[in-house]
Every structure is written in structure tokens, then in C-alpha cells.
Amino acid sequence: MNLEWDEFFVTGEPLIYAADVSIVLTTIAIIFVLTYFKKWKWLWREWLTTVDHKKIGIMYIFAALLMLFRAGVDALLMRAQLTVPNSKILEGQHYNEIFTTHGTIMIIFMAMPFLIGLINFVVPLQIGARDVAYPFLNAVSFWTFFMGAMLFNISFIIGGSPSAGWTSYVPLAGDELSPDPGQNFYLIGLQIAGIGTLLTGINFLVTILKMRAPGMTWMRMPMFTWSTLITMILIIFAFPVLTVALALMTFDRLFGSHFFTLADGGLPMLWANLFWIWGHPEVYIVILPAFGIFSEIISTFARKTLFGYKAMVWSIVAIAGLSFVVWVHHFFTMGANAAVNSFFSITTMMIAIPTGVKIFNWLFTLYKGRIKMTTAMLWSLAFIPNFTIGGVTGVMLAMAAADYQYHNTYFLVAHFHYVLISGTVFACFAGLFFWYPKMFGYKLNERLGKWGFWFFMIGFNVTFFPMYFLGLAGMPRRIYTYEWADGWFNLNVVASIGGVGMAIGFVLLVYNIYWSFRHAERENEGDPWDGRTLEWSTPTPVPFYNFAITPTVKGLDAYIIMKKDREQQEKTYKPIHMPSYSGLPIIMSAAFFISGFGLVFKWWWIAIIGLIGVLVTLVLRSFDYDEGYYVQVEEIERIENAYK
């Protein structure tokens, strides 16, 4: 309320001016292009108001790629700063802001949305459904995620970014040590996005429970669908904990309560516990769908049914269950007693067992397969050894006694990047290459794809492998500079070179998307890889109602069976019910954004206006009886015949 305007915009750093300029220029460019090509209406009608799960999925992936870019630039800045000792590219405060936004964006606004995007696009198709259970809510999920992400991102130029790390430990993140609005951006941005994640959890759980095609029993569900199902259950139980944790810290900071303060009875450790009770399952929320993706791709390109399907299913369930009882391994050194540490040490190590089961099953699927080396397959194969390195070092960290030695060093940084990148990020890229033809009707260029793969994968190892040794040599996490005498220079140079390699890999991916859009060969059969599951049975681009006739499932790998049987199904169409598009989700989320923005700066009247906006849209929704419309048989015939 009493913040001056000259403090509103962050100033004083060339980097920030550059960001200002680039944001203004991009905005002008977008407005210009849309106006020049008269695309505003199209954008609103086809995309901003859509409730089609396929379009929502594509929007998720697009947004996630943007966030990968943003957080990737943060990563490069950090590497630039750490390359030589006593470097002055960033000062300490700015470095803190950058590793905080990097970590937060990568996990909350990149990894999870990327996977949710793939899930959105693929899962309804994989189970033979025409949409998700709640199409309207699905749009709300996307837009709240998007608005939350934007709110978090503008902190860089308005008001200042959070700087207490993505874990936001108190007292550092509290009002006294972080008085500026940065931490509020974290709390409220995540809160808004979290609403969307919870809704996604409920939506897809019900979709998978209730909307599978006839014949698709539990043990005939594709692996990706299975991993999604379990992930959604994790979301439903974990995200409310985050909601509460964020709300409590928001109360502490905005309204002077004492949950986590040092004074008046507050309990800083309560934050650490709440955060990681959500945070550890969160790690599995971004890894289980990745496992599902690799399973699909490996069995498709090994041209074999997944080995040990049932064991694969049960191991996911086991991992999910265990993920709720290991959270203390994130603070072994913060004063828990030996019994507590031992318990959490052992449960943590137990996760290695089901994970190992999965690794062996993937290997056995490959054994004697007729392997096709596509780009998607390369990413999936590279995942296995890299992820194993990450996993083994994870078990090293899980030994509570040893953890006293290397916790909060670069050993940890190396570990979690090994699992997150070779697990989640590789899976996102693999999935993108794999399902791209289904999304757009043409493949991404394989040659460019492979170049991108090698740059990124080698760059990744060059970046992060040395960090294990930096950690063992004592380099602490989250430091912004060091001395020549520390002796960490050589390995840091290597790591930074690797970072450039990854950046080139990413640029190649983006260029590939552009190149393929212009030049790739179009196809509309819809089954470019000789696919095994139902999503490949539709033509591409997939008609908005997905399946003209609902498929019947006769076993695991439903589409393989259909292709073998070749029995001609009688084609009598029936009218198809579809939900209507709606502008309410984006408007409601914009109102959330406004309200959140007001709260960040404690400008109560803006917060209240936003909140009223949210309530008004809720009331409008309550009175909205639009139950969709029917696509008539003639229309279906016209669309289906166009593919011939």
C-alpha cells in the first residue's frame, strides 16, 4: 500500500533492463502479428476458450517449453557466474534470486506442466475416451497454472524475486529476513497454480476410473495410463498439504500470525516438515509419468510387449506408497534423533527396490527386441544408465550418517539433476518426439532430433558429473562465488562447458519444431511408428471427438491386436455428445491473477477486486446450464471421409 512507484519496478541492473526491453518487444511483436494477420478472434475461439483436452495439452506443453527456456537462462547465468572464482557477473542477492526462481520454475512450472500436457493429450486417447470427465475444469486447471506461472515470473521485473531457495526455509523466507514482496510472489503464484494441479488430479482420476473403452480392464491399461492414475492419487493427497503450508506462511507474512516465526511460539521445523511431506511425493509426481512414457516408447520401438507388465504396475504402486514415508531424508541434519533418522533412511533406500525392478523390466523388454533407433528411443535408452547413476547416488545420500558429510554440497545438486533431468526432462523430450505426429500430423525431423539429443545428453553429463566431485571436494550448494584457493576452478569450467552443450541441444529442439513446421512431410494415417495402444488408431490430426466409433479392447496393446485381427467393424455412426467451449476459465484465472497481485504488494483493494471477480465467475458458472451439443451423423461422416 505504501510502496513507492520507484520501488515498484526493479531497477539498477543491466540484466533486468534487458529483460524489460525483451518483454516489451515480445509483447509488441505478438500484438502486431496477431493484429496484422487478423488472428485475435481465431486465438480466442480456437485456443483461449477451448475445453478440448488435446488443445489444452498442447498449450501446457507450449507453456512448459517457455518456462524451460526461462529457467534454462537462469541456469546458464548461474554457470556463468560460477565458472571462474571471484566472478562479478551477478552479486549475491541476485544469485540467490536466480537459483530460487530456477529451481521453482523447473519443478512447478516446467516439469509438472510438461508431463500434465502429455497426459492431457494422450491419456483420453489411450483409454478410448472422447474427452476427460470434466472438460470445463480441465480448462480451469490450465489457466490457473498459467496465471500462477506468470505471476511468479513477473517478480523478476516487478517488486523483486524470491531468494530463499525453492524450499523457502524459514526463518530465511520469513517477514524479517525477506521483507520485500519476492517471497509473496512465490507463495501466491504457487498457490494459484496449485488449485489447477489439484483439479487435474481429480479430473484424470475420474477419467481413468470411469471412461475407459469397453474391454479395457485394469490389467489391460497401457503403462502410461497406469502411471498417470497413480500420479493423480499422489496429487490428490499431496497438494492439499502444500496448499496449507503456503497459506500458513502467507498468513505469517501478510497478517502477522506465528506459525513459523522464531518469536511467540512459532515452529520453523513445522515448515520443513509440511514442505517435504508435499515435496517428496512431488518428486514422484514428476517421475512416475516419466516412467510411463519410457515404458510406452521402449515397448513400441523394441516391438515387443512390455516385459513384466504386472510387476511394472505393482512397482509404481509401491513407489507411490513409499514416497509418503521418506520426507525426513531432506533434513537428516536438522536435529531429529537417531531412531527417526534410521527409519527414514531405511524407507528411503527401500524405494530403490521397486525402481530396480522397473529398470530390469525395461532391459528385458529390450532383450531380443527388434530395436528401432528413433530419437524418442534414444532419449529412452539414455535414460536408463543416467537415471541409474542418479539413483545410486541417491542411495548414498539416504545413508543418514553419510549425509552429514555431503548434504547441501554439489554432490546433492548433481544427484537431483541426474534424476530430474535424465528422468523427467528426457521423458518430456522423448514423449514430445513420440507423440508429435499425433498432435500435428507430421514428425519432427529425426536428424535434427538426434543432433539435439547428443548435444543435450553429453552436455548434461559433462555438466553434472563433475559436480559429484565438486561436492566431495566440499563445494557447498547455493554459494555465489568462491576463491582460487578452494581449488574448484577446473571442474567448474568443465561444468559450464557442458551447460553450453545443453543449451545448444535445446536450441536444436526449438529449431527442429520450426523446421518441421515448415518442411516436414505431412501424413494423416495416424500410425507412423507402428503403435501399440489406442491413441494410434485415430487419424491425425485427431478429430475433435477423438473416436467416431468407440473402440473395443481385447487385450493389452489393444491396437496391435486390432491390427492383427483386421476384422472390419461395421461403421454405423451415432451422434456424439461434446462439451461447449467457454471463456469463463480464462477470465476466472485472470481474476485470480489480479487478486494475487494485490496480495503480493498488500494492496488490499486490488486483492478484493480480484476476489470479487473470482466469485462472480463462480456464480456465473453455477447458473450455466450449457450441457454441450451433439455432433450429427452427417458431420461425422463428412469428417471421417475427408481422411481417406
Binding site: I202, F237, A263, D264, H577, G628
Partner: protein, 211 residues
């Protein structure tokens, strides 16, 4: 809705309640049950927080000095009764009596508002006695736990009001009955949460902890 494959048509039997007769109805009700699962996780976290913060009174008042049996008992009575009248409303709905439904919903609302008034009065009283959100960790936990429940009740009241308007507009249809049914689940859920609050906060605060 037809974009869902219905397993046989067992749901069209004449004795199926209206709200279960459409696929959307069934899906929404199931989704709401799952949402309540998430709400349980939410309240469980708040309860855990509250319990951890017991004893952390700083220099502020202690609960057994402020809690009064009478007010809390009245609140409990009001809310439990409202859950009962809400059940009667559903009963009337199943008998296809719009009038009965609206009447019992109206009574539920009155009881809900009365509950809220008592709660607000109670809060104001405590604040006067020097126990506010900012007094100590314990009171922060208290206000956020009990306040979250109160905020839910407020939402529930607003929601039921909206539904009553729609009942007047449209009568008993597959959609309106579904909405009533879902709102009633929510209302009962709030009642259950209150029983836990009554036990963990008030009973514990007044009797067990003090004694």
C-alpha cells in the same frame, strides 16, 4: 452424457434417484467424493499443525481460560441439527417434493447462519480478551483451523442459496437434484469436521489438557 460409455443401462431403472440418472450426474458425484478426499488431507494437515502448536502460548492467554462450554455446545447443537435437516431435505427430494426440499434447505441455512453468528461472536470475544491471530503460535493455529472450517460453512451457505434460486427457476431436474445432492455431501462433511474440532480443540482444550 454420451461421450462416456455407460455400462449397460442399469441406471435408468425407475427407482434410481434423479441425480444418478445422467452420466454427468454420476461423474460429478464421484468427482466430488474424491474432492472430499482432498479436503480430508487439507483438514488433517490443519489439525496436525494445531496439535503441534498446543502449548506454544507465548505470553498470550491459554485456551482453558477463554473457552466456554455453553457457546461451543450451542454451536455444536446448531450444526448437528443442520446436518439432520439437510438429510431431511434430500429425503424430500427423493420423494419428488420440491416444496419439502426447499423448506428443509431453508431451515438448514438458518441453522448454518446461526452457527456462524455464534462463531463470529466467539472470535470477537476472544480477541477482546487478548487472543488474536497474532498473539501466539497456538492462537494462530486455532484461528486458522477453526476459521477455515467457518469459511467453508460460509461457502456452503452461499452455495445452497444459489441452488435454491435454481430450484425455483427450474424445479427438480437431473441437474438441479445433482447440485443439491453434492451440496448436501459437502454440508455433512463440514459437520464431521466440526466433530473433530469439537473434540481436538474444545474438549481437549477445556477438559483433558487443563485437567
Amino acid at each position: 452424457m454420451e461421450y462416456v460409455q455407460s455400462e449397460a443401462n442399469k441406471h435408468d431403472a425407475p427407482d434410481t434417484p434423479l441425480e444418478y440418472q445422467s452420466e454427468t450426474g454420476r461423474l460429478n458425484i464421484l468427482g466430488f467424493w474424491i474432492f472430499l478426499g482432498a479436503e480430508i488431507a487439507l483438514f488433517a494437515t490443519l489439525f496436525a499443525t494445531y496439535l503441534v502448536l498446543i502449548g506454544r502460548y507465548a505470553d498470550g492467554p491459554v485456551p482453558w481460560e477463554l473457552f466456554e462450554v455453553k457457546g461451543v455446545l450451542i454451536e455444536t447443537f446448531l450444526l448437528l441439527t443442520s446436518s439432520f435437516t439437510c438429510g431431511l431435505a434430500i429425503h424430500e427430494m427423493r420423494r419428488h417434493s420440491l416444496k419439502g426440499l426447499v423448506a428443509w434447505l431453508g431451515i438448514t441455512l438458518v441453522l448454518g447462519v446461526a452457527f456462524l453468528s455464534f462463531e463470529i461472536y466467539e472470535f470477537i470475544h476472544y480477541i477482546h480478551e487478548g487472543a488474536s491471530l497474532t498473539t501466539s503460535a497456538y492462537w494462530s493455529g486455532f484461528y486458522v483451523l477453526v476459521g477455515t472450517h467457518g469459511a467453508h460453512v460460509t461457502m456452503g451457505i452461499a452455495w445452497i442459496v444459489l441452488i435454491i434460486i435454481q430450484l425455483f427457476q427450474r424445479g427438480l431436474t437431473k441437474q438441479t437434484t445433482r447440485k443439491v445432492f453434492v451440496a448436501s455431501l459437502y454440508w455433512h462433511f463440514l459437520d464431521v469436521v466440526w466433530i473433530f474440532i469439537f473434540t481436538a480443540v474444545y474438549l481437549y482444550g477445556m477438559v483433558i489438557h487443563h485437567g
